[in-house]
């Protein structure tokens, strides 16, 4: 057996400090957790788009595409999670396939958590497929645990999600019980007994750890609990011992509370259909005044805003605005929106405007200059946003030198760096010969009409050849002799002769 443990291991007391636990549970206050386990969430998020026929959700893993969730009709064809997509197609040719969307799953969990806040103030996400609710304080209000579960169940049925609800005195235990499809545990006294019957896989420990336990003959939680604590910590891992302690309330099990992220939205109806940007701007200014009031009230900032222009018959037109750093200043928001809205081209006149913010972010205090000077970095950000907003993101960039022999690849467009970046490249150039300050984007054949726009008369070579021969590995190899040349009208040119075709090209100007 590959994972056999040498027997002398047992004799060595390693420096693993195994915490002992009191017989009394560590939790003084009684808690009551409900775990909402959504076993088929990966598919449920696509439920609205799926039809009655077989449908699966797939995910690429190790270069293969595997089915991770199915609907009932696919299951009846014999498709179960874990099969390869090709095998699934063999079983059902009319299969509908969706690619797994972690983002959608996360959004579904968040929306459920936001809904569940009406039942309790402590809601915690347990990605990828569960939500935990601490309801000890809510039981009196709603009458009983069953009433709360009933309300949750109704909501989940309305959403059409497959679910399993389980209550237990600890969050971890509730989650494990829900995964194992065992009924509720009301008191701590019965917890270890109920948990003990569960197979080890409900813990979702890494597969290697589970395999190790299986090889040791450990199949259930009860088997785990029966092992000596120090041996378990040494052989399996302290983390997993802590997990067991948390499940049995021998150790605190803090859970991060879900904090809903908010957006803010407002709408202005126009008195008549119009394409007049001045009227739009008046409405936008009005909405921004309301927005900045709201932002100040909540001490929040926004990083993105979306303007939706509603038409009478057509679908609404969207304009999205993102900026580099969050802001709450009205003037800055207004100037960013104005540049684009004033020049917007609409398919039809608009009848109403709606402004929706991105998530509201808490205000980050920024250090202020004693003399109230705006730092250059901020000014640079504002400038970049404004230029990109009006000219398009492509039109603004920085440049960088690249260590490359072929002249056309020796430079590159770079992200326009914020002004505070320290320069780290060596200003000394590795080139033996001087390079021209202007490079033509595409070399022009010497003597052609395009090239004659940049020089006049005849051309005289002014230097010896600089041979550049490189790039055979990527199919765009250059094999050229470069010369500095002077036209009869005193322009200095950088020209080359292709050593294969023997044609002359103009590649740069010594500006």
């Amino acid at each position: 057996m590959s994972r056999s443990l040498p027997s002398r291991d047992l004799a060595i007391r390693e420096a693993v400090t195994v915490p002992s636990f009191d017989r009394e549970p560590a939790l003084a206050t009684r808690q009551s957790w409900i775990a909402v386990y959504l076993p088929n969430l990966a598919f449920d998020v696509f439920r609205s788009r799926a039809t009655d026929g077989p449908a699966v959700v797939v995910e690429p893993m190790h270069g293969q595409v595997y089915v991770v969730a199915t609907n009932r009709s696919a299951r009846s064809c014999g498709i179960v999670p874990g099969v390869k997509l090709n095998a699934a197609f063999a079983l059902a040719a009319s299969l509908r396939v969706f690619e797994r969307s972690i983002r959608r799953e996360r959004a579904s969990l968040e929306s459920l958590s936001a809904w569940a806040e009406r039942l309790t103030s402590t809601v915690s996400l347990s990605p990828p497929d569960a939500v935990l609710l601490e309801v000890a304080g809510s039981v009196r209000l709603f009458g009983s645990l069953a009433a709360i579960k009933h309300k949750l169940g109704e909501e989940l049925a309305r959403r059409g999600w497959t679910r399993r609800l389980c209550a237990a005195p600890t969050a971890t235990a509730a989650l494990w019980l829900a995964r194992g499809a065992v009924e509720d545990v009301e008191s701590l006294a019965t917890l270890s007994g109920k948990l003990g019957s569960l197979p080890v896989r409900v813990t979702r420990w890494p597969l290697g750890t589970q395999a190790l336990l299986r090889d040791l003959g450990v199949r259930t939680i009860a088997d785990c609990l029966r092992l000596p604590r120090d041996g378990f910590a040494r052989r399996v891992g302290l983390t997993y011992l802590h997990d067991l302690d948390r499940a049995l309330a021998r150790r605190f099990d803090p859970r991060e509370s879900f904090v809903p992220q908010e957006r803010w939205s407002t709408k202005r109806e126009l008195y008549q259909e119009t394409s007049d940007s001045a009227i739009f701007m008046a409405a936008v200014e009005d909405m921004l005044a309301a927005l900045t009031y709201e932002l100040r009230r909540r001490q929040a900032e926004v990083r993105s805003v979306r303007i939706e222009l509603e038409h009478v018959r057509l679908k609404p037109t969207f304009e999205s605005f993102d900026w580099a750093e969050p802001t709450h200043e009205r003037d800055r928001l207004l100037s960013l929106l104005r540049d684009r809205l004033e020049r917007i081209v609409l398919p039809a006149p608009a009848i109403a405007l709606r402004l929706t913010t991105g998530f509201l972010l808490p205000v980050q205090a920024k250090p202020n200059d004693l003399f109230d000077k705006v730092p250059v970095e901020t000014l640079a950000h504002v400038l970049l946003e404004r230029l990109r907003g009006r000219l398009g993101a492509e039109a603004v960039h920085g440049i960088a030198a690249v260590a490359e022999h072929r002249p056309e690849f020796a430079w590159s467009r770079s992200e326009a760096r914020s002004a505070t970046c320290l320069r780290d490249d060596d200003p000394l150039s590795p080139w033996a010969r001087q390079r021209p300050l202007w490079l033509l984007p595409i070399p022009l054949p010497l003597g052609s009409t395009e090239a004659h726009r940049y020089y006049r008369g005849s051309v005289e070579l002014d230097s010896s050849a600089e041979r550049i021969e490189s790039g055979w590995w990527d199919g765009r190899d250059a094999c050229r002799d470069y010369y500095v040349a002077q036209s009869s009208c005193d322009e200095r040119l950088w020209i080359y002769r292709d050593r294969r075709s023997f044609d002359w090209y103009l590649h740069g100007l010594f500006g």
């Binding site: 730092p375 250059v376 970095e377 000014l379 640079a380 504002v382 400038l383 230029l387 009006r390 000219l391 492509e394 039109a395 603004v396 960039h397 920085g398 440049i399 960088a400 030198a401 690249v402 022999h405 002249p407 020796a410 430079w411 467009r413 770079s414 326009a416 760096r417 505070t420 970046c421 490249d425 200003p427 150039s429 033996a432 010969r433 001087q434 390079r435 021209p436 300050l437 202007w438 490079l439 033509l440 984007p441 940049y454 020089y455 006049r456 002014d462 230097s463 010896s464 600089e466 041979r467 021969e469 490189s470 500095v484 005193d490 322009e491 200095r492 740069g508 100007l509 010594f510 500006g511």
Partner: protein
Amino acid sequence: MGSNDLLDSDELRGRIWRGSGARSARVALPTGFAALDRYLPGGGWPLGPLIEVFVERYGVGELSLLMPALAALTAGEGSRASTRKWVAWIAPPFVPYAPALQQRGVAVDALLLVHPSGKECLWTVEQVIRSGSSCGVLAWLAAADHVALRRLQLAAEAQGCWTILFRPMAARRERSPAALRLGLEREGSVTRVRIDKCRGAWPALVDIGAIDIGTAPDGATPNGAVE
């Protein structure tokens, strides 16, 4: 008592405006060409007012003329990261070649390239100057009337921004509020700067000698294959 003694008396000093004093008080960026520095009031490119450079064709040394100043502007301020500002190139006609700029000592990461469409060009120049995040602007402006240039001039003077406008020859005859208007003339290896207008000095033809615009080192053996 000579007239100079009278002027230097404590009573009158500070009350009399003197032309020579005004010259040196200007903020200027040395051009890197001794003859030009001697000619220009303040001893270099004026920082703030517009500078118009008339170019008929490219490749005659119009950029090389600016390189020493550009290198000083981008590298000199790099010492203190928080004061580092951009030098914006607006609507350049070709690709400014980064290796060549490095050879002339320009810190290429301090350059910002903006490619506006023809109509947006003036707007872009004004935004870049007004933002206060740029210490220099090089703009290739085809058409601009007196009012537009006046706006740029006011913006640039308020920010103390080194503003070079490359203009076509046709614009040379137009009225302009620019403080310095110049063109380049080359004869063999000698380059002359023809000054059409300069605030604080008379028009002149300044001989700046040979500008280094890409002469291969003499006697250099052919480099041969690079690889």
